[in-house]
Amino acid sequence: MVALEERLVTIESGGRGLHGVLHLPEDPAAGAFVFCHPFAEEKKCAHRTMVEAARAFAEAGWAALRFDLRGCGDSPGEFGECDLSGWGADLHSALDWLRGELSPRRAGLLGLRLGGALAARVAEERDDVDCLVLWEPIVDGERYIHENLRRSIIKAMMTRHEGGEDADGAAGQAHALGEGTVDFDGYQVPERMREQIAASNLLDQPRGFPGPVLVVNLSTSDSVAEPLRLLADCYPAGSAAAVRQEPVWQRIGVIDATPTTQLTVEWLQQMR
C-alpha cells in the first residue's frame, strides 16, 4: 500500500470548527467524497472501517474527507444538544469546504447507517453532488429507534446477569422509553433528536437525487434485504448490492471491511 497524504483540517460550520481528516490521492483526483459517519456508539465502532475506506478511496484516485459532525468525536458541541438539522448543515459545510479546497471533477457523499440517511437527504438539497454511496443506511428511523431501545434492554439484562451495580438503573432507564432523554449506549438522546430520527423514512417518497446511487447491504445474506432494495428502486439511477460482512457499526474491534470497500471502489471506477 502506498502511503498517501492525510491532512488534519478544520471545517467551519455554524460558528464551530469541525474536526476533519482529508485523504488525498497521489494522482489528480477522479473526484472527491465526503464521508458521513453513523450515530453515537456506532460511530466509534465504525471508525476503523471509515479510515480504511478513505484510504482505499485515495488509493483508487478519489479524495476522501472524513469529519466529525458537531457534538461528535473531536468536533465541538454537546451531543445532547444536536439535531438532524444541525448535522445536515454540517454536511453541507463539509461539501462546500471540499469543493472550495479541491475543485473536484466530481463530488460524492458516502454515508453509513444514520450518516447514510443524512447523506441521502443532503444530496437532494443541492445540485452539485454527483454520486451517492449508502452503506446500510437507516431507511426507517422509527424502527432504528426501536432497535436501539432493544439494545438497551438487552444490555441491561446482561449487566444484571453479570451482577453489575447499575443493572437495575440501566434496566429502568431502558424501559423509561418514549419520554424525555434516553440513554443509547451512554449517549443521552433527547426527545427532539429521537423524534427527528423516528420521523426520518427514506421510503416515504420517490428520491429526487438523479445521479448514480449505490446502496450496500452488509449482512449474513447474499441477497439484498427488501427495504434496501426498495430504497435503491426509489432512485432513478439506483443500484443495490449485498456483501457478506459483519456489521462494522456494532462492535469495537477489528472487522475486515475489505469486501464492502472493494465493492464500492469497483463501483466508483466505473465512473472514471
Binding site: 432493544r150 439494545r151 438487552i154 439484562m157 446482561m158 459483519e246
Partner: protein, 84 residues
C-alpha cells in the same frame, strides 16, 4: 418438547447471524450458548432480530431474560409458546 426441525432451524439461524465457525448440527440442544460461544449483548440482539425475522414472532420487553437465551431448547420452547 419442541420438535427437532425447529431446533435445527434455530441452530442454522444462530450460526449464520453470529458468523460462528461451527456446523449447526454440532450445537447440542442443551449446551449453554452464552458460555460456549461467547455470546454478548451484540450477539443477543442479532439472535432477537433473527428470531423475529425467521420465525415471525415478536418480543415483548418483559420477555427478555438470560434464561430464555441459554440453550437451543429454551429458545425453541419460547418460539413454540409465542406461535401458539
Amino acid at each position: 418438547m419442541a420438535d427437532d426441525q425447529l431446533k435445527q432451524q434455530l441452530k442454522e439461524m444462530i450460526v449464520e447471524r453470529l458468523f460462528l465457525d461451527v456446523e449447526p448440527a454440532q450445537i447440542a440442544d442443551d449446551e449453554n450458548l452464552m458460555e460456549n460461544y461467547d455470546i454478548d449483548s451484540v450477539n443477543l440482539f442479532e439472535i432477537v432480530v433473527g428470531l423475529e425475522e425467521h420465525f415471525e414472532i415478536s418480543f415483548e420487553d418483559e420477555d427478555f431474560s438470560v434464561d430464555l437465551f441459554a440453550t437451543v431448547d429454551s429458545l425453541a420452547e419460547y418460539v413454540e409458546r409465542k406461535r401458539s
